[in-house]
């Protein structure tokens, strides 16, 4: 209803709901993803990752059974050399999986010459685009939830103790944040699939962005902070300002936001997210653990940031797609 009113006040009145046919598109996209060979490969990759890291973590934490209140959460965050922790892997894998799902979603319809036939059905482009996004998001949600259940099962079996309700809640929130994190990369890769007619170009562009945030952004943020807030006299405020700027800059990266958010969720002892190198999952400030509500408060800005970025990217893709002329 709100949408209809918004449109009525806009330049041109459009008939009917922009979401007519949305669920048909969602169902088709999910069916496509879940039966595709591409998804098979990704599933194998993620199951291997989960199995390897959880096994490693278990070796490490068995000794502390009975001493730690949040033993289950350690399954996700404990690294066993040479493997990083499960959460470390997810920071890397989630973007890759999201990109792999949708980098060819619009340009693929162009090259298969199905797009104009689909858009000649009584639906708006809005429904097609959102349907494709939701289809991929639900697919991610399904796969991640399955992996999450697998890990919980492995933990129960390997540790021999059930998780506390707070552990279940915290790890479930970790699952939710991970799905949302996937959403950003879906929106990004989808936008590239609208901009570039060649799927390979769209995939490369998405991977370039991923690599940029994975590897280069932290370095660039450091250099930028040093240039913009140089230490002139060696006062401690100068160091503080510089560090604050650097932290602010690194938080422009979705990878940092995600890493910090899940760190606070999975390590209740973390009381503040200032001045921790975001890629370091260990070595946070220790103390008495925070209650869940306080941890949530801590990461609230991160969550809104992730969501806002997703909405922005989706809006960009939407605008581009509305303007595109469909001749195939």
């Amino acid at each position: 209803m709100a949408i209809e009113i918004a449109q009525a006040t806009g330049k041109r009145e459009r008939e009917g709901s922009p979401w007519t046919g949305l669920w048909a598109v969602v169902a088709k996209e999910m069916a496509d993803h879940l039966t595709s060979a591409r998804m098979r490969v990704l599933e194998i990759l993620i199951v291997l990752t989960a199995a390897g890291t959880i096994y490693g973590a278990m070796q490490n934490i068995r000794s502390t059974i009975g001493q730690d209140r949040f033993l289950f959460l350690k399954l996700f965050t404990t690294a066993q050399e040479p493997l990083p922790a499960f959460v470390g892997f997810m920071g890397l894998l989630v973007p890759l999986i999201a990109i792999a799902l949708v980098f060819d979603t619009i340009n693929g319809e162009f090259s298969r010459r199905t797009l104009s036939r689909i858009l000649a059905q009584p639906i708006y482009r809005d429904a097609l685009l959102l349907g494709k996004f939701l289809g991929a998001l639900f697919t991610l949600a399904l796969v991640f939830t399955a992996i999450w259940l697998l890990i919980m099962g492995l933990g129960l079996w390997g540790l021999g103790v059930p998780p506390s309700s707070e552990e279940v809640a915290r790890s479930f929130l970790f699952l939710l944040v991970t799905i949302f994190y996937g959403g950003i990369w879906l929106a990004l890769a989808m936008t590239f699939s609208i901009i570039f007619r060649q799927p390979a170009t769209a995939a490369l562009a998405s991977l370039a962005v991923w690599l940029f945030f994975m590897v280069f952004w932290d370095i660039i943020a450091g250099v930028l902070a040093q240039t913009l807030m140089p230490i002139r006299f060696g006062f401690s405020e100068e160091y503080l300002k510089q560090a604050q700027l650097e932290l602010g800059l690194t938080r422009l990266s979705p990878t940092t936001l995600y890493a910090e958010a899940i760190l606070a969720l999975l390590q209740p002892s973390i009381r503040s997210l200032g001045f921790i190198l975001p890629t370091q999952l260990q070595g946070a400030i220790l103390g008495s653990p925070l209650p869940l509500s306080q941890s949530l408060l801590l990461i609230w800005p991160h969550l809104t940031g992730l969501l806002a970025a997703t909405l922005l990217l989706f809006a960009l893709g939407y605008t581009l797609f509305q303007r595109q002329e469909i001749r195939a």
Binding site: R14, T20, V25, K28, R113, T114, A328
Partner: protein
């Protein structure tokens, strides 16, 4: 509304400074087959996209089934079937699965959808390959699946862009036959083609496009009369006194010009099909009729002739 299914008024589409469709006034009647014909780049596809609301006109008006496609695209698209040129399907899905998606997008419920899918696949002769992946289909089969895809929504009108493109002559002929049977069911058909001669036989009326303008419009014989000064060319082979036969033929009402091509071959340019009168004239002149043929109009010839005249006029 009246019985015009499509009406456009000064419909114009510009890309920057380039005018792809220039002040088009097009009317298509209920139940007819209308051919949008012209060479590549003439503006046929752009016109079709505007009729479906898939691209916004720069100026001018469009009415399809009495509706404005850019304001009421959902109503237009639920009553009008569209087959783009070289229509594509999802190769990894079967013919039936592809149609199920279309049915769902049209809001058909499951039972209804399956019933209609069986119907339309049978209609286009693909019922035996319903569960084959479309990836294994030939161009001709995909084209027929495209027709099934359009018929699924039980359209009042269908629009096909270059439907015979990529088909061999035999495939094209079969496809045109399919179009004829659709017309018999009362569906209004608009089709575009750059192969004028190939599709002229199925069209009740045609509009000839040139650089965004519809330069000629009417039935093929009408255009022949207008442009070539004749609608029919009749070939006669007859034995007998050449001068007598020739002058008798010249007196037949509707004959524009009579030529003696070879010893006993006569060629008549005529305004209408005057074969019975010509046969009578030959016999009355004491000739013996050996052969009598009527040559159908050739749109390519009309088109070429028209532009030769336009150029000479300039």
């Amino acid at each position: 509304m009246n019985d015009w299914v499509i009406e456009t008024k000064d419909l114009t589409k510009k890309y920057g400074t380039f005018t792809a469709v220039d002040a088009l006034n097009l009317s298509v009647k209920h139940g007819e087959v209308f051919g949008l014909l012209g060479p590549n780049g003439a503006g046929k596809t752009t016109t079709i996209l505007m009729l479906l609301g898939l691209t916004e006109p720069t100026s001018g008006e469009v009415r399809v089934l009495g509706l404005d496609p850019s304001r009421q695209p959902l109503s237009v698209k639920s009553h009008v079937g569209y087959m783009p040129d070289l229509v594509g399907f999802y190769d990894e899905l079967t013919a039936e699965e592809n149609l199920i998606y279309t049915a769902k997008l049209n809001g058909l419920d499951r039972r209804d959808a399956y019933k209609r899918i069986d119907e339309v696949l049978e209609r286009v002769g693909l019922q035996d390959v319903a569960d084959h992946n479309v990836g294994t289909f030939s161009r001709g089969m995909k084209q027929r699946l495209g027709v099934a895809d359009m018929l699924l929504k039980r359209p009042q009108m269908i629009i096909m862009d270059e439907p015979t493109q990529g088909l061999d002559p035999e495939g094209a002929r079969e496809f045109l036959q399919l179009i004829r049977t659709l017309k018999e069911e009362g569906i209004t058909i608009l089709l575009s083609s750059h192969l004028l001669f190939q599709v002229q036989a199925v069209c009740d009326r045609v509009g000839l496009f040139h650089r965004g303008k519809m330069v000629l419009e009417g039935t093929v014989p009408e255009l022949g009369r207008r442009v070539l000064g004749r609608a029919y060319r009749i070939h006669i082979e007859a034995e007998g006194d050449q001068n007598a036969i020739r002058s008798a033929l010249q007196k037949v009402p509707g004959a524009v010009q009579v030529e003696l091509a070879d010893g006993r071959l006569y060629r008549i340019e005529a305004e209408h099909d005057l074969r019975p009168a010509a046969a009578e004239a030959v016999m009355n002149a004491g000739g013996k009729l050996l052969r009598l043929d009527v040559e159908t109009q050739n749109l390519d010839e009309i088109y070429a002739h028209y532009f030769k005249e336009v150029e000479h006029g300039n």
